[in-house]
């Protein structure tokens, strides 16, 4: 968490060469892909790992006594070690594989929410959550009688810490679920501090690291997070795979969620018993190939190193903020001190969708809309924003293309 962006030099050309898709042309124009916060592109290492498994070493896992099954099990389970290392988890049994962040949060909302929280207890989320970290808690509220409390944000787009702390006053809060980095504003939340406040008030805490882990080294033990979740496809990995980290004693105390093969210890019609964690939470044939792909992504990230990534992205973000802010009529949304490579903006006289359509004609991919964060949009008094987001492969020159093109978009709608 303490990577001060240093000026490590990333060889961006060499990195870009590892992403075949970046060489694509869109309607004859070079692709300028500024939508990595929605989902990142996949490096050769990830593609090769998946192809290698399908071509040379594949079978169903965990229950097989033959060579292919043993090798595939080893490859898949190696991802658990890699994920534990990436997060600095104390124990590989604390890594549960899920489809994506959304499933991870639903799992906790179900198993911890219905299994451990009592009706009348409260769950705290923030005013800048993704729908994935709102709707499951709403559904829990409606089904289980918990309360849902919203920690407000400041106008700069930062978590309002005193207001957050005040939510604990009545001692009812059992769980906090908060983003580690906003997918709209780019703001980081001060994770250590909000964890401390939650713990000081006897509440457990889940951090949504979907965005943060792409840009910063995460240490769940240093953070003392109870749950930490992320989604593989934003971390240059395949779709269909994500990670729920949970402290072992919490996972052990939680009832299972889905039932089926692999999550049981024994089955009889009267009563079944559950496998140990993490298998208790992994029912059915897992996303084997996707796990193998995620391992390649994690190793690829580790080889580059978070120091280099953070330095590169900090430079990109500074450049992006400078270039975009200079455009007349353009408003950057969110001015947090501590922020990552995501810039949302609006433009006078042009709706975000229209901006995105025009940029697309120039080969530039940005996102436009509510970014699955409608309540945040309402808080900001907006309907939608356009959003440019950066990955390891993004170059300052691409940001210049964006800024130059936005000037023309502005003219167009003049």
């Amino acid at each position: 968490m303490n990577d001060l962006p240093r000026h490590t030099e990333l060889d961006i050309a060499a990195i870009r060469a590892q992403f075949p898709i970046l060489a694509q042309k869109i309607r004859g124009k070079d692709l300028v892909f500024l939508d990595s916060a929605a989902s990142a592109q996949k490096p050769r290492a990830v593609i090769d790992a998946m192809v290698g498994a399908m071509e040379t070493q594949y079978a169903n896992i965990h229950r097989g006594l033959h060579w292919m099954s043993e090798r595939t099990t080893d490859a898949y389970e190696a991802t658990r070690d890699s994920a534990a290392r990436l997060l600095n988890a104390a124990d590989r049994h604390e890594i549960v594989f899920v489809r994506n962040t959304t499933e991870a949060i639903n799992l906790v909302a179900h198993s911890y929410g219905r299994g451990i929280l009592k009706p009348g207890q409260a769950v705290v989320i923030s005013a800048m959550e993704h729908h994935s970290n709102i709707v499951p808690w709403q559904m829990l509220r409606d089904a289980h009688g918990t309360e849902l409390r919203i920690a407000p944000i400041t106008d700069a787009g930062e978590l309002d810490i005193p207001a957050y702390e005040a939510l604990f006053a009545d001692g009812k809060v059992g769980l906090v679920a908060i983003t580690h980095m906003s997918n709209v504003l780019g703001s980081y939340t001060p994770a250590e501090r909000i964890v401390q406040i939650a713990h000081a008030n006897g509440a457990k805490i889940l951090l949504d690291g979907s965005q943060a882990i792409v840009h910063r080294r995460i240490d769940v033990q240093a953070l003392d997070a109870d749950f930490y979740v992320f989604t593989g496809h934003k971390l240059y990995g395949p779709t269909g795979i994500g990670v729920l980290y949970g402290k072992r004693e919490l996972l052990e105390a939680m009832p299972p969620w889905m039932g089926g093969g692999d999550m049981i210890s024994s089955v009889s019609y009267e009563r079944s018993t559950w496998a140990q964690v993490p298998h208790k939470f992994e029912a059915g044939t897992p996303a084997i190939l996707e796990g193998i792909g995620l391992n390649a992504a994690i190793q690829w990230i580790e080889a580059i190193g978070y120091d280099a990534i953070a330095a590169h992205e900090a430079a990109l973000t500074d450049h992006g903020l400078a270039r975009l802010s200079a455009i007349e009529g353009l408003t950057v949304i969110g001015r947090a001190q501590d922020r990552g490579g995501v810039i949302s903006f609006t433009l006078d006289r042009a709706h975000a969708h229209d901006i995105a359509t025009l940029l697309d004609r120039a080969g530039i991919a940005v996102r436009a809309g509510h970014h699955c964060a409608e309540p945040l949009m309402r808080r900001l008094g907006l309907e939608s924003t356009a959003r440019a987001s950066f990955g390891i492969y993004t170059t300052p020159a691409e940001i210049d293309v964006l800024a130059d093109t936005l000037l023309k978009v502005r003219e167009f709608f003049q």
């Binding site: 229209d354 025009l358 309907e383």
Partner: protein, 150 residues
């Protein structure tokens, strides 16, 4: 630079998107419905007043969203004026074909006001912007309350 997008963002669309002529709430109405496109956040509400012969006497709308959806709503009001609910459904089916393909072999003359949207078919993810007000209108005519252009 953006010469080619003038087919969609033509003078009519820009004008109607910016200064819609029929964007108003009807105080005296028979049916109303909302429409939303959950994927992007566009919203529209439509109010309809029938004439004694069950044709549409007046339509008003309120929209938040892009130029395309506002212009589409504004033009729609003109296209459906004087038509029955049945007719309006036929008009929508024809407009859907126009929006999705750029062609409209059996477009009634009544659909002429929608012609400025013909190029939207080249922008597949924007087709829903153009059809959203129609979904809301049809929901109103069916007295359904809500529609979505998913």
């Amino acid at each position: 630079m953006f010469e080619d997008v003038r087919d969609l963002y033509n003078a009519t669309i820009i004008e109607r998107g910016r200064r819609p002529r029929h964007m108003r709430r009807l105080d005296d109405f028979d049916v109303t419905a909302k429409g939303d496109n959950p994927m992007c956040g566009d919203r529209v509400q439509v109010w309809v007043k029938y004439a004694a012969d069950s044709t549409i006497a007046a339509t008003g709308f309120d929209a938040r969203g892009c130029e395309i959806s506002k212009a589409a709503a504004d033009l729609m009001v003109e296209a459906v004026a004087g038509h029955t609910a049945e007719d309006t459904k036929r008009l929508f089916a024809a407009f859907l074909t126009l929006a999705q393909t750029g062609q409209c072999p059996d477009c009634a003359e009544a659909l002429a006001p929608m012609q400025p949207l013909a190029a939207v078919h080249e922008y597949p993810s924007r087709v829903k912007c153009a059809t959203l007000p129609w979904h809301a209108l049809l929901a109103a005519l069916d007295d359904k309350g809500n529609a979505s252009s998913e």
